[in-house]
C-alpha cells in the first residue's frame, strides 16, 4: 500500500505526455549509483576530456605556430582561437555520444539493464530522457573544464565563455539524443567502427580545422547539411564572434535534431524490448 501511494505521488508530478519526473530521476539515479562501481568508469570519464584538449594543443597551438592567422567573419584571428571553439563543440559532442552510444548500447543489448527497468512502471520515453540527462551531465562536465582552459590560455573572454556554455548544452542534447537513436539500430560491436569513422569524419571536416569557405563548393554544401558544422558555427559565433541572426539557424538545426533523436530513440526502445 505504501508503494502504491508513493507511486501515486510520483505520478502526480507529471510532465507532458504522462512522463513522470520521478521515474526519469530514477533512471538517472541508476547511473549515479554505477559511478561507485570502481575506478574504471571514472578513468574513462575523466580521460575523455583530454582528447579534444590534446588536439587543441597539437593542431591549434603546434601547427598554429606555422599558420599564423585565419579569417573569421572577415577579421583575422589566431589559428588557436579559431580551433578552440571547434574543439569545445567536439568535446560536447563526444561526451554526449560516448554515453548514449557505447554505454546505452551495452546496457540495451548485453547487460539487459532496460529489460529489468521496463518490468517496472518506468516507460521507454522515461528511459530515453534519463539517459539523455546523464549524457548531458557528462557533456557539461567536459565543456565547463574546456571553457576554463580556453579562458586561461586567453583563447576566449569570460563573457564569450559564458555565452558559449549554454550552446554546448544544446550541442550535447542534440548529439546525445541522436546517438541514442542510432545505438538502437546497431547490430553489434563491429558497427561501432562505422560509427567512429563517421564521427571522425565530422570531426575533420566541419569547419573545425579550416574555414568551410575554403572547401570546394560541392563539398561545402554537403558540410553545411551535417550536424557538427552547425554546432561548431554556433559555439564559435558565441565564443569568438561575430554574433548574428545566422546563429539562430544553427541553434534551430540542433533543436530539431534533439527532438527527432529523442522521439526515434524512445519509440525504438519500446519497439525492440516490448515484443
Amino acid at each position: 500500500m505504501m508503494t502504491v501511494m508513493a507511486a501515486g505521488r510520483a505520478l502526480r508530478r507529471n510532465l507532458p505526455g504522462g512522463v513522470s519526473a520521478g521515474r526519469v530521476g530514477a533512471v538517472l539515479n541508476r547511473n549515479v549509483g554505477a559511478l561507485r562501481s570502481g575506478p574504471a568508469y571514472w578513468l574513462v570519464l575523466l580521460s575523455g576530456f583530454f582528447e579534444p584538449l590534446l588536439y587543441l594543443l597539437s593542431i591549434g597551438v603546434g601547427v598554429g605556430a606555422l599558420v599564423g592567422t585565419v579569417p573569421v567573419g572577415g577579421r583575422p584571428v589566431d589559428y588557436a582561437v579559431f580551433v578552440a571553439p571547434a574543439m569545445l563543440a567536439v568535446s560536447a559532442m563526444s561526451g554526449a555520444l560516448a554515453e548514449t552510444t557505447f554505454n546505452v548500447f551495452f546496457k540495451f543489448k548485453y547487460a539487459k539493464t532496460y529489460d529489468a527497468v521496463l518490468a517496472t512502471p518506468v516507460r521507454p520515453v522515461e528511459i530515453a530522457l534519463g539517459e539523455l540527462m546523464w549524457a548531458l551531465v557528462r557533456c557539461l562536465f567536459y565543456t565547463v573544464l574546456f571553457l576554463v582552459v580556453m579562458v586561461v590560455l586567453g583563447l576566449t573572454s569570460v563573457g564569450g565563455a559564458l555565452a558559449a556554455f549554454p550552446a554546448t548544452a544544446l550541442v550535447g542534447v542534440a548529439f546525445g539524443a541522436t546517438g541514442m537513436a542510432i545505438s538502437t539500430f546497431l547490430r553489434g560491436w563491429q558497427d561501432f567502427d562505422l560509427l567512429t569513422t563517421g564521427q571522425f569524419t565530422l570531426f575533420l571536416f566541419s569547419g573545425t580545422f579550416s574555414p568551410v569557405q575554403d572547401y570546394p563548393v560541392v563539398f561545402e554544401v554537403i558540410v553545411t547539411l551535417t550536424p557538427l558544422y552547425h554546432a561548431v558555427e554556433l559555439v564559435r559565433g558565441l565564443a569568438v564572434g561575430p554574433v548574428g541572426w545566422t546563429l539562430l539557424v544553427h541553434a534551430a538545426y540542433l533543436v530539431v535534431m534533439a527532438v527527432a533523436g529523442l522521439w526515434v530513440a524512445a519509440r525504438r526502445i519500446g519497439k525492440l524490448l516490448l515484443v
Partner: protein, 307 residues
Amino acid sequence: MAEEPLIVARGLVKRFGEFTAVDGIDVSVERGEAFGFLGPNGAGKSSTMRMISCVSPPTAGELRILGMDPVRDGVAIRGRLGVCPQLGNLDTDLSVFENLTTYARYFGLSRAEARRRATELLEFVQLADRAKGKVEPLSGGMKQRLTIARALVNDPEIVLLDEPTTGLDPQARHLLWERLYQLKRQGVTLVLTTHYMDEAEQLCDRLVVMDGGRIVAEGSPRELIDRYSTPEVVELRFAGGAEVAVKLDGVGERVDALPDRVLVYARDGDAAVAEVHRRGLSPSSVLVRRSTLEDVFLHLTGRTLVD
C-alpha cells in the same frame, strides 16, 4: 459477488511474425493462489509470462490483470507486480544492495524507504552479508535469490517467477521454495513456470500443462494425477531393450514403452509385477512407485519433461 480474478486471459495469442508461440489460451488466477505453468522447452511459458508482466503486447485475445488492461494501464499494473525473469538481468555495475535500492526508485519509493526495503529483503533471502559486494561473483543460486528479492521490492500483489529454480542445487532450491511458501502465507499471489514436476507439486495450488503454445490440461496436481494417471507406476528395464513391450499387453491399465524402460500404469503395482513374472518375462530391474506429474506429462504430450 466474488472478487474478479487477478489475472484473466481469454483466447490469448502471441505471434512472432508467422510463428505462433502462444495459441489461444484461457487462464484465470485468483488472489492468494500459487499458479503454475508446466511445459517442455518452447511450450510458450515465458511468452505468456512476458505478456502478463506487461512487457509484451498480446497479438490477440483478451488479457486483464488486476482488473486493468495491460496495454493501456501498463504503468499502473507494473507498479503492483514483481517480476523474476528467466534470464537474469541484475545490474553488474551496482552492488548487491544498490541493485535493490536502484530498482525500488523505479517504483517511486523514497530513498529511505528503498534502503529499508533493501535491508529487509536481503535478510529475507539470506544475502545480508553480501550487501556491499558486487553481483558478478555471486553463485547462481545467490543471484536467483537476489533477483527474487528485487522482484519483491515494491511489495507486489502478484509475483511472476519464470523458472525460479532452474540450475540450482537441491539445497538452494529448498531454500527458495521455503521463501516462496512464506510469501504465499503472506497472501501474495504467485505465478510460476517450471520444468520440474516436484516443484509444481510442492508449490502450486493449481497448474496448467502447456505444449506447443496450447493448454493441454488444467487442475490441481492431485486432480491431474488422478485424471491422467493411475495411482501406481511400475518401471521395468529389460536387458534386451524395450521390444518386449508387446508381450506386456494387457498388464495394468496402460503400457508406455520408452527408449530405456517400460512404464506400466496400474492400480496395484505389486499385482502388475506378479503378472509380468507370470508371463515368463524377467526384467533386469523393477521399481514400483506412486504416480507423479511426470507421468501425467508423459501421457499428455508423449514426451518426458526434462530431456
